[in-house]
Amino acid sequence: MHWRNSSAGTTIVPVGATFSAIPGVRILDFDSEVVVFNPRSWDAHILNSAAEMVLGLLTHSPRTQHDIEVALFDALAEEERASASAHAERVLNDLRSVGLIVELGQDGLASR
């Protein structure tokens, strides 16, 4: 769960869901693209640079959707930054749909 300061100063509010890469993901880095092994399905996936960055973050530690948006915002070209939020959501959905990441519940366990 990610928290951020509210305008009131000391109050903290939850923002977005938290995601984690599933354990055992293997990543092969081939210059401009990466190939990822999904240990659950045994499928291999070729990822673009945005998905690679997001998965890389999530293999290190769980991150919130907001974290991902911030990371993508920094990585995107200036003219693309306005769509960082939608971009993050799309990448997270794609990674989740192929089973490479899971959303964590408040207890820190995978919820879906």
Binding site: L28, F30, E33, I46
Partner: protein
Amino acid sequence: MRVAEITDAGVRERLAAKGLTIDCGAAVVRIQSDVPELAAMLRLLYGAFQIEPDDVVTDASVMLRLARGSRRVFRPQIELWLDGNRPFERYPRDTPLPLVEWGVNFALAKRLHCYLLLHSGVVEMGGRAVVIPAMPGSGKSTLTVALSQRGFRLLSDEFGVVRLSDSRLLPLLRPAALKNESIDVISRFAPDAILGPRFPKTRKGTVAHLALDASTVDERHTPAQPAVVVFPRYDPTVEFELDSVPKARAFGRLAVNSFNYEVLGPDAFDALGRLVALSDCYELRYSDLDRAIDAITLFVRRADSATTLEEPAS
């Protein structure tokens, strides 16, 4: 003793009794048969192979048997038995050799899971392997055989056998199967090459097999380090065209084209990843065989000067 050192009758006797056991490199294969004409064909094509003792453990055992019953008079048929089972219907008797070869391939593809098996030709020069994956109509066998007639050592025309521990390519030597136009192409390209009989009307059209020479067979346990992957496509409208293939794409194409990637899972992923990382990957469209060979020779020499051979895994 090499197969060619015994007579046709001797081969026939062995085939009818305990079988002809052949060490193909990455696998040992046993062939049994009571089809009399098969002996001379096998002797011609497997002549350079050593005959292994009858008690050697085999990776695949193939038996081709004359079918019994009344149809044998009017429309003779043969049965293919693999490791003691007959998984397929009977076949017409007139294609015994292609059936044995296909049966061995089928058995190995189903069983040899201690290696990653790519559907590809493989040749080697200076310890560097060139992997030539097959796509339908790609001209894989033509190019693989042509390279083997121009200074490259043949490792296989059908199986890219990848050792899981270090991704080295192992020979799996069998007579190379040429189909349709490629038979004449190779006959013109290498007039001294020894080809077996032509079998028309197989499921893949006309098929003929290339016999391997003794020096190639004697190197059947010498692996090679992956250096070049070439996705070929024979295209009569293009003399020669070459493009680099991004490694991630090459990985995907090789994985899809593997016989057992999905069986091996993470081990296959690691082995194939290492193979691709060590290789330069290209797509080649060609109709000029000589230019294709020159280009591949250049790639191998370039790889030779760019990297040192890695020590193989123990």
